[in-house]
């Protein structure tokens, strides 16, 4: 388990949780930073910070301190196709 800011450029992580105030969390979730989303570190700004992350086909720049509060895990444990829709929701239909 690690945080988003520890990803090297080109690496992808699976989002676990956002340890941020509710309003910031809400904003980020609507930009695609939801649990189980795949987040890729795309590039760093010329000064080394902020970093541009790819999520849901969008590019979002976050500062080191914000990315440091977003917990991620490595991608190899589960395939993203299964994590997209939780089973209980699928069963409910």
């Amino acid at each position: 388990m690690s945080v988003l800011s520890e990803l090297n450029v080109g690496e992808t992580g699976v989002l676990i949780a956002l340890d941020l105030p509710e309003s910031v969390q809400n904003h980020l979730m609507h930009m695609g930073f939801v649990p189980d989303a795949l987040v890729t570190a795309l590039r760093r700004a010329p000064a080394g910070d902020p970093t541009v992350y790819g999520v849901d086909g969008m590019e979002i720049a976050l500062r080191h301190e914000t990315a440091g509060a977003i917990r991620v895990r490595s991608t190899d444990t589960e395939s993203p196709e299964n994590t997209e829709i939780p089973d209980f929701l699928e069963a409910a239909r």
């Binding site: 910031v24 939801v34 000064a47 086909g57 979002i60 720049a61 914000t66 929701l89």
Partner: protein
């Protein structure tokens, strides 16, 4: 998709259908969904901009003339990701949707615009909007672009899933818009959207799960990632080339504003002055002529001359913003802006402020965090705007000897001018730091910046943007500035003396002259006499008024009448006083237009009042120190 094969842009029917029971329609969509372009399409130029009462959110309303429904009002809501009431924009949107916003009609139907390039994420807004329960038409924008990039969408399945009609459009090309009047004609009976399932409203995670489910069941395939944008970013965000190109853009803005904008403004000023003299013979000589031409027209033109420069600046910023580069500029500038407690998005407003603080303050709208935005607004007037230049040039020409060093490469006058620019910059940075570490401190406001894809800006949207800004600027000149100008003129011409004929008093005996004498003791320590005092009072209107006021004052005095203004200034001002006056102008807030726009943007008199007082104290202290140091050195 090539231009030739695209369906033709929608033409409104010649005979509009009879008005139904609808009267107001609301347009809603996430940021970067093409909502503004669509709003312009649907309304044409018939729109008005105002602020919602009590908040700093802009209200755009227009008649739907673009689809032949002049009887319907279209309300454009701010671009939002969700209806969760965390932001002012979202709270305003909720109130408007529920018809609880005073001054805004209750909407009868909703047009929801979604960017089909990122449909899954954009659908997250559909859930709370559909839950409001108004008849809703979902417009999938940029479907042509999505399909050309290998994406796919099934609008019929999506419509069934969401329980609301879905239409594919291209706001940029104006195609598919016939769905809008069709929907509006059918929905006079108020059929309410009935989605199959809705998530728990207000919970972002469940909303996202729902959106992902809907887009999967309707066979949505996202287009290939933005390859072109990434390739451009490899250069524009390159470790070495990125900052260099960024600098080139900054210098480019300066070049345009000074080398192209200045002659345009000068030429425009000449035209305005000529218009005044053309009208002069047709007005009865006497006080009416003086009031209208020397008072009102002169005052308004002194502000209007900045219009070409301001429009040029907005054109430049518009191109940068619409193309998508502005977000990259903010990303590059963030590291530097952070050291003073602001974020990268504050960079462009501060840069624009070198031309004029008024459009710069309007440009702070891109900063979402309110405290960051207010801090930026408060420091913006410190940047050396073009209105300070005439004053600096006059005083430098009058008091600074033309000494050059290094074979004419550096001159003393240039050094003084650059120092004044530097003083303003340092003033802005220090104040920003002070504000961000005291009253405008914000810890829970992270920098979240979306990098949109690069796009070609359209002439249409740039033109609309310029018209919009020109309107705001002209309204300002026609109201606030007109009032202050008239007040100044009256104060310079009262009290009326009844001798043999009715005449205006000597300047020294007029109301404003007495005011000058009244404040003289306060400004004497700075090395200013009562005439400079009048100049300072009148330049509260606008800084460049100082020059014309001094011209009038010395022209009226028989002792200095025949001299050049520069020579005349030597008559009652020392070098210390002149230097003090320059530094006073660098720091003081002498601009009613700026104060009016700060009032508008912060929606309170508290901030412009604080700003005025703070800058006045700083200017006074700096001028006092400069005057005394100069006296000690030069005697």
């Amino acid at each position: 998709m090539s231009e030739c094969c695209a369906p033709p842009a929608y033409e409104p029917p010649v005979n509009p259908p009879p008005p139904g029971e609808l009267s107001a329609v609301v347009l809603i969509g996430p940021p970067n969904s093409g909502k503004s372009t669509l709003f312009n399409r649907l309304t044409g130029l018939r729109q008005k901009v105002a602020n919602y009462p009590g908040v700093t959110v802009e209200q755009h309303m227009g008649l739907m003339a673009g689809v032949g429904r002049e009887d319907l009002t279209l309300i454009d809501l701010p671009g939002i990701y969700s209806l969760s009431p965390f932001s002012e924009d979202a709270r305003v949107s909720i109130d408007v949707l529920r018809g609880k916003m005073p001054g805004t009609p209750k909407p009868d139907a909703v047009l929801l615009v979604l960017d089909s390039l990122h449909l899954t994420r954009q659908l997250m807004l559909a859930a709370p909007v559909l839950a409001v329960g108004l008849p809703t038409l979902i417009l999938l924008n940029m479907t042509d672009l999505m399909e050309s990039r290998g994406g796919h969408i099934d609008p019929l399945k999506l419509a069934r899933e969401l329980g609301a009609p879905v239409a594919q459009i291209s706001a940029v090309h104006g195609t598919g818009l016939e769905a809008v009047p069709l929907f509006l004609n059918q929905h006079t009976q108020r059929t309410v959207a009935q989605p199959l399932t809705l998530p728990v409203i207000g919970n972002a995670a469940s909303t996202h799960t729902w959106a992902a489910q809907v887009s999967r069941r309707t066979g949505y395939r996202a287009p290939l990632s933005q390859e072109n944008s990434r390739r451009i970013d490899n250069l524009l965000l390159h470790r070495i080339w990125g900052p260099l190109l960024f600098l080139a853009v900054v210098i480019g803005v300066f070049e345009v504003v000074f080398s192209v904008g200045q002659p345009l403004s000068d030429g425009f000023g000449d035209i305005l002055a000529r218009m005044g003299s053309l009208v002069r013979p047709f007005l009865p000589a006497g006080w009416i002529q003086s009031l209208l031409l020397d008072g009102a027209w002169k005052g308004i033109s002194s502000v209007l001359v900045f219009l070409p420069q301001i429009l040029l600046l907005f054109l430049f910023i518009g191109i940068l913003e619409d193309s998508g580069y502005l977000a990259r500029a903010a990303l590059i500038a963030d590291r530097v802006m952070r050291t003073i407690g602001l974020n990268g998005k504050a960079f462009i407003p501060l840069l624009s402020a070198y031309a004029c603080a008024v459009p710069a303050i309007m440009a702070t709208r891109t900063i979402e965090n309110k405290r960051d935005r207010f801090a930026t607004i408060l420091v913006t007037p410190f940047m050396t705007c073009s209105a300070r230049l005439p004053v600096y040039m006059l005083l430098i020409a009058a008091f600074i000897p033309n000494i050059v060093w290094l074979h004419g490469f550096i001159g003393l006058r240039t050094v003084v001018m650059l120092s004044l620019y530097l003083a303003g910059f340092v003033g802005a940075m220090t104040t920003a730091w002070l504000l961000k570490s005291s009253i405008l401190k914000s810890s829970d406001a992270p920098f979240i910046l979306e990098l949109p894809q690069y796009r070609m800006p359209t002439v249409r949207s740039l033109a609309l943007r310029l018209i919009d800004r020109a309107k705001v600027f002209l309204r300002q000149a026609g109201t606030v500035i007109l009032c202050v100008t008239l007040a100044l003129w009256v104060m310079a011409h009262l009290p009326v003396i009844h001798t043999s004929t009715v005449a205006a008093p000597e300047l020294a005996d007029s109301v404003i002259g007495r005011l000058g004498h009244f404040i003289e003791p306060a400004i004497a320590p700075l090395g200013f006499n009562w005439k400079i005092g009048i100049g300072l009072l009148s330049s509260v209107l606008a800084r460049e008024v100082m020059v014309s006021t001094m011209g009038t004052l010395y022209g009226a005095d028989p002792e200095t009448q025949a001299m050049h203004l520069q020579t005349a200034l030597h008559h009652d001002m020392t070098l210390g006083g002149a230097l003090a006056l320059m530094i006073f102008f660098a720091f003081a807030m002498q601009c009613t237009s700026t104060m009016a726009v700060v009032r508008r943007e912060t929606n309170s008199w508290k901030w412009p009042a604080l700003q005025f007082a703070y800058m006045l104290v700083l200017a006074y202290a700096a001028a006092f120190v400069v005057n005394h140091i100069a006296m000690a050195i030069f005697g």
